[in-house]
């Protein structure tokens, strides 16, 4: 589609200049600016407990976003993540009615996530179907099953110890979710940036055919990534269900959009092949801060979604407008 030829510079930029101009630095600047703006806009913002509360806005979504980032870098996408949450949460809710304890619930949440991810992965890698349609289909299917089971009802009565995952604190204001988010960020950062598996993901995203001829088991890597995305959705389902203390079939509706927005905002190319975990981490903070700041100013949720939608388009449009403007 891009008919313009690639721009080749005369000499390479110095590493420092490149780092300063990078997407992550820009994003970090935005995050700091929002933070400062928020602390001026509302007197309730600069409070350790309020800030800690604000992290719940993004931790669960960010956990999925890490795996989604890997998946998108490899050139695939999973739009069924929010529906996997609904399915896993419904399964856990049903288990509660049978008297299953907290360890069993966690196992069920993770198991359903893995199974759903494996189902997506099977359809995409074994049957060779495009992931966007497959996951639009499973998005309806998974949430549809939750609706069949629950209808307009809700599951409640989760055991008290189960509440820890979404409401517990490890130390002072550091919630379990925030710590889990940090640990997962480090793990995903290492996997993507420091391992052969991570290199393989970039290779697949940049040139799937080339990756095959370089000896990378493309289908197996992609299947693993779908499995990981399912697993992370399962973990997010455990945290969210624990935090809300109930399950409705409409749980986490629309989250797939926010997760994809977070990933794209983090500088991951939707076409695959480039992006980084630090970018996604900063993007998670940016989205969390925007939502929290607007919430303090009593902006309704649906208006916030306008901001998020506009942000999604703007982060891609603005750099392109900038290069177009510079060339003329």
């Amino acid at each position: 589609m891009n008919s313009t030829s690639h721009f080749v510079p005369d000499r390479l930029q110095s590493p420092l200049a490149r780092r300063l101009k990078s997407w992550e630095t820009l994003l970090l600047g935005v995050a700091v600016a929002i933070f400062i703006a928020n602390s001026f806009a509302s007197p309730y913002f600069l409070n350790a407990w309020n800030l800690s509360d604000a992290t719940f806005n993004f931790t669960e979504k960010a956990m999925i976003a890490f795996a989604m980032a890997l998946l998108i870098i490899s050139g695939e996408i999973d739009l069924s993540v929010a529906s996997i949450i609904a399915l896993a949460s419904t399964a856990m809710g049903a288990a509660v009615q049978l008297g299953v304890g907290t360890p069993g619930l966690v196992a069920i949440g993770l198991g359903v996530g893995l199974a759903a991810g494996a189902f997506n992965g099977f359809l995409v890698t074994r049957l060779g179907l495009p992931s966007i349609v497959v996951t639009i289909g499973t998005m309806s299917l998974f949430r549809g099953i939750a609706f069949i089971v629950l209808g307009d009802q809700a599951y409640r009565g989760y055991p008290e110890s189960f509440a820890y995952f979404g409401q517990g604190y490890v130390w002072w204001v550091l919630s379990f979710e925030l710590v889990l988010f940090a640990v997962l960020a480090v793990i995903y950062g290492i996997v993507l940036h420091k391992t052969n598996f991570g290199r393989a993901i970039y290779a697949i995203g940049n040139n799937p055919t080339g990756a095959v001829f370089s000896g990378i088991r493309v289908q197996r890597v992609k299947f693993t990534l779908f499995l990981l995305t399912g697993l992370m959705s399962g973990i997010a389902a455990i945290c969210l269900t624990s935090r809300l203390g109930s399950t409705r079939p409409s749980i986490a509706v629309g989250w797939e959009l926010e997760v994809v927005t977070m990933v794209v905002l983090g500088g991951v190319s939707i076409l695959g092949g480039s992006g980084s975990i630090p970018g996604v981490v900063i993007a998670a903070f940016v989205m969390g801060l925007v939502t929290f700041g607007l919430g303090l100013l009593n902006v309704p949720g649906i208006v916030m979604s306008i901001f998020i939608g506009a942000m999604l388009i703007a982060v891609i449009a603005l750099p392109r407008l900038w290069t177009m403007w510079r060339r003329h």
Binding site: M1, N2, S3, I77, L123, L127, G128, L129, P130, I132, V133, V134, I136, G137, T138, M139, S140, L141, F142, R143, G144, I145, F147, I148, G151, T209, P249, L257, V260, T261, V264, I270, L271, P300, I302, V303, S305, I306, I308, G309, A310, L312, I313, I316, A317, R320, L321, M324
Partner: protein, 327 residues
Amino acid sequence: MMKRLATSREAILFGAILVLLALIATRFPAFVAPSNLAGVFNDTSPLILLALGQMVVILTKCIDLSVAANLALTGMVVAMINVAAPGVPVPVIVTVAVLLGTLMGAFNGLLVWLLSIPPIVVTLGTMTIYRGIIFLLSEGKWVNAHEMSPAFKAFPRTQFLGLPVLSWVAIVAVIAFYVLMTRTTLGRAIYAVGGNPHAAVYTGINVGRTQFWAYTISGALAGLTGYLWVSRYAVAYVDIAGGFELTVVAACVIGGISIVGGVGTVIGALLGALFLGVINNALPVIDISPFWQMAISGAAIIVAIAFNAQASKTKGRVILKSAEHAA
């Protein structure tokens, strides 16, 4: 060869619909009575209209996830116009709806064409933006039946030659799109862009502009459907047709329109929509909870793409290796 394959695929889908109807008829003969079938068609008309627009977009290798939000926003705007000025005649209302929808579709198209932003990102974004604007306009309030003027509500129900106007709009659209896709240069360009964008460029087709037109067409249909929807159900609020964009994509996929572009027909889109329409209308009749609807359409999408992928494996060998990678 391709044409024969395509026609057989539609024949299979048509057969599937007939089998479905026959199965329902064994227990509920009244369901297949002509008057009830006409009712099913009328009920499916909005889906048919949107599926036609979506088909054009998908054929050009794009996707439009903003159609339902476009529909809802247009519906809300015309409903509010009707409340504020009940005297505005229906043709003006329809024109406003189509223009507004066209504008929103064109906005998607411009972002895809001029900034080459990936279609899924653009329409995921505009989907939430359009939906959010409805809230800003209506402040979350509903426009209810008693606030709308009788003429506003009557238009889609008016009987004409035995069928409601809503059904006629769908029939006319199907015929118009059949002509557009098979008899005009734009129709050929749409297939060419989706089939092989690089070859399309060399034959003098502007790929981006063709995609822009596809989005504009889809937007216009969504706008038109917005008015028809709101006047038919006589209510407008923020969440009308929530998630309907997926049903529309499902109808196209079931109808054999390839998500990678270039393959698919008007008849396919029509049959895909009718397939879902028959299922949705049959569920309450055979006493299955409407909560099954979502899972069934999800399963139908997966079965349909798996089936279509199997069918297309027999295609001819690739002569130009680079063309395959470019796709």
